[in-house]
């Protein structure tokens, strides 16, 4: 079997010594973690290794010897190194030697027990200790203790990554530390201590506590019975601003909780939430500073009323056009007039409502604009709600008067009425008990009335269908605008910005796997491979770390949407509680 030796590339210039690491016997591979230099006392090394083993729970042992001869090859040294194998008994004893500045190392194994020295092939794999230590293999394994061993068996690379990541404690010792043992391994160049970072670390604990307190206060207020009376929860559920605020509150609770993140995924989730919240608030404050400069709010309020007037005027023109002969169609005059008048009256009501509001609009906008400091998403949600309120007349045309004369309901009734009357026309009926169409013999007067009604409804259908079509299109326009706004909000909410930045700047942190590069070969020397970390693609970064959102827009497929439109069912812009109803 081929023997694999994972060798840290930072140790390639280390002085002679012994190799310590982990032997993974089922894969016949050795993961070398560090080199212990001469001189050392074997008892001390053994004690040190047992200490490390206790802390890291990894079976760290002496695997072999490492000789880096800068001068001529010394016979005595090589003999000495072989003798070392008897002190630290390990099977097999790996001997790696580097001659001067040669790139090709010779590598051999000693097996004492097997009397026939088998020629084993050896692969030397160089790895970057720092990157392997910091990276996280994806997809993350379930680290439940029961499946741990199975996972280790399944993936040898995961085992190797685990070994290096868990032996972090080994790398903590300083280069200038005068301990009993001198080690060479990866060492950070030291983090420059920044006062600001330290202060922020100190300040984060009380800040989190204060935040938790405030959050519990707000949630207590929200849960008061006063706010639980009938109309209010209904209203809250319809306003997307409230949903967004609730969502953000949950995020804040996640961040400020003082529980330590248990694993990598939760840690990344926290960081992602934090960065997305930060960027959201920053964008919101940017928007606010833009809005409040040069009295832009006032200008906005001044233009809002004429726009609303203009929309109403256009609607009136549209209705006038529909009341005549739209596109040369000949409509039922009486019904046409009734419907048109009804809608005209509605628009009149709407305009007077707007004009009643007009003195307060600037003030309302001014206060609403302040909410942008809670985040851009909140501001966008408020905008969406304002659009919903300002186009309430369009919505009313669509829904209003469900009992009396709602266009929609009328259309809806008609389709059902027409279909049942069409069955009557053919002498059949819908059997409710058996869920099928049966033939049925009707009386003469039943047939007469039914046919009469069928004819009337059939001839009135084009008129109502036209009104329905026009107002559905208007309604769809509003729904699409709101949908776009919610899509933007969802994007800001769900984008895992921290992970993306990490992937951009420190691509080795999120590893999808590894890739090997074959280094220069020389005959008779072991195969040399360079192990590099294969970063996760951006698509899978987003997929893995996407933050869950509440969705405001309906999750209808296109066909179901068209079906709903045809049968005249209501399309809501907001979250459909339909999943439960269905």
């Amino acid at each position: 079997m081929v023997l694999k030796v994972f060798f840290p590339s930072c140790c390639s210039s280390a002085e002679s010594g012994i190799l310590i690491g982990r032997w993974i016997s089922e894969q016949n591979s050795a993961v070398i973690l560090a080199v212990v230099h001469f001189p050392f006392i074997p008892a001390q090394v053994k004690q040190y290794l047992s200490e490390v083993q206790q802390v890291t729970k990894i079976k760290v042992s002496v695997l072999g010897s490492w000789s880096n001869s800068k001068q001529e090859k010394e016979e005595s040294l090589s003999e000495f190194l072989e003798d070392l194998g008897t002190i630290f008994s390990h099977e097999p004893w790996i001997q790696i030697s580097k001659e001067r500045d040669s790139k090709f190392w010779s590598c051999s194994t000693l097996q004492k027990q097997s009397n026939s020295p088998k020629e084993e092939e050896i692969i030397l794999v160089y790895y970057d200790q720092r990157k392997v230590m910091l990276s996280h293999l994806h997809p993350p394994l379930d680290t439940t203790p029961s499946t741990d061993h199975k996972a280790n068996d399944a993936s040898k690379l995961a085992a190797m990554f685990d070994t290096v990541a868990n032996s972090k404690i080994l790398f903590m010792t300083d280069r200038y530390d005068d301990g009993p043992i001198k080690l060479t391994h990866w060492q950070s160049d030291g983090v420059e201590a920044s006062i600001i970072v330290e202060l922020m670390k100190q300040a984060s604990v009380p800040a989190c506590m204060l935040l938790t307190f405030l959050l519990s206060l707000t949630s207590a207020i929200c849960k008061r019975r006063m706010l639980k009376f009938w109309p209010l929860p209904f209203l809250w559920s319809k306003l997307s601003t409230c949903e967004q605020l609730g969502h953000r509150l949950q995020h804040l609770q996640v961040i400020s909780s003082n529980k330590k993140a248990q694993n990598q995924i939760q840690l990344m989730r926290k960081a992602n939430i934090f960065v997305s919240l930060l960027i959201d608030v920053a964008l919101g404050i940017l928007l606010m500073s833009w809005l409040y400069r040069k009295n832009r709010i006032g200008h906005l309020a001044d233009t809002l009323i004429p726009v609303a007037d203009h929309v109403a005027k256009e609607l009136q023109d549209l209705l006038q056009w529909l009341m005549g002969a739209p596109a040369g169609l000949k409509m039922n005059r009486a019904l046409d007039q009734v419907l048109g008048r009804f809608f005209l009256y509605h628009i009149h009501l709407w305009i007077s409502y707007i004009h009643l509001m007009s003195p307060f609009i600037e003030m309302i906008l001014w206060y609403v604009g302040l909410s942008a400091c809670l985040g851009l998403t909140v501001a966008l949600c408020i905008l969406s709600d304002i659009i919903a309120l300002l186009t309430f007349h369009i919505y009313c045309f669509y829904v209003y008067g469900a009992s009396v004369l709602s266009l929609l309901r009328l259309y809806c009734l008609k389709i059902y009425g027409l279909s049942s009357l069409w069955r009557l026309f053919r002498g059949k009926k819908w059997n409710v008990l058996r869920q099928r169409v049966d033939s049925c013999s009707y009386d003469l007067d039943q047939l007469f009335i039914g046919t009469l009604l069928f004819t009337i409804l059939l001839f009135l259908l084009p008129t109502t269908a036209l009104y329905y079509l026009v107002f559905t299109l208007l309604r769809l326009l509003v729904v699409v605008v709101q949908g776009l706004i919610h899509l933007l909000v969802d994007l800001i909410d769900s984008l895992p910005l921290y992970s993306i930045i990490l992937r951009l700047c420190r691509s080795y942190r999120l590893a999808a796997g590894v890739k090997f590069r074959v280094l220069e070969q020389k005959h008779g020397k072991p195969l040399r491979l360079l192990m590099q970390i294969n970063p996760l693609s951006y698509g899978s970064v987003v997929q893995t770390y996407r933050l869950p959102t509440y969705s405001c827009y309906p999750k209808d497929s296109w066909t179901s949407l068209c079906k709903k439109l045809f049968f005249g069912e209501l399309i809501y812009p907001w979250k459909h509680k339909g999943e439960k109803q269905d």
């Binding site: 694999k4 092939e121 692969i123 794999v125 399944a154 993936s155 796997g513 590894v514 070969q521 294969n534």
Partner: protein, 190 residues
């Protein structure tokens, strides 16, 4: 290291380069046809002629600059995401199989499959449009079921070599996979 010329399914010339790094390490690279200057200039001139025609009709110079940008961006996208220059397979005994495809711009996308996941490397037959083509693929082991195959990873998807070329690659792969089959017994004895 040796290089042999073969033909792809479409008839385009391709070159298979085999390189044995050691007894248990083969590198097999299939190099597809290079980007032809003729086709590149034909596409560019077609786009620019169309743009010039539109310019004469509409008399707006926006069309011309848009055409230049479209050809530039199109070329970059084509070289960086579409045109695969070389597909190589690195089979390392007892470690795994690495599949690399290098794009014309130099970008490389690599996937490494560990040997414990690899069940076998086989040549498959498939019906593509109106002809039967052969392709090489790696069968991945199902972790739950030792007999089952969880996934099929097709190789050399862009160059699509013919059967004679695939046979060569197949033989080299099997040579190393055979070593793996004999190896566990010896370790079992130990």
């Amino acid at each position: 290291m040796e290089e042999r010329r073969y033909r792809a399914v479409s008839g385009a010339p391709i070159a298979l380069r085999r390189r044995q790094h050691s007894a248990s390490c083969w590198e097999l690279a299939v190099r597809g046809p290079r980007l032809q200057l003729r086709s590149l200039s034909a596409v560019t001139s077609a786009v620019w002629l169309a743009a010039y025609g539109l310019f004469v009709l509409s008399e707006s110079s926006m069309v011309l600059s848009a055409a230049i940008f479209i050809t530039l961006i199109g070329l970059i996208v084509y070289l960086h995401f579409v045109k695969i220059d070389q597909e190589s397979l690195l089979v390392i005994g007892s470690l795994g199989i690495q599949v690399t495809s290098s794009y014309a711009s130099g970008k490389e996308s690599t996937t490494f499959i560990e040997m414990s996941q690899v069940k076998d490397v086989v040549i498959n037959e498939a019906i593509h449009m109106q002809k039967v083509i052969y392709y090489l693929c790696i069968l991945l082991q199902d972790p739950q079921d030792p007999q089952g195959v969880s996934e099929v990873v097709p190789l050399f998807q862009s160059s699509q070599p013919r059967l004679d070329c695939l046979m060569e690659v197949y033989k080299s792969c099997q040579e190393i996979l055979e070593q793996r089959k004999t190896a566990p017994q010896s370790s079992g004895i130990k």
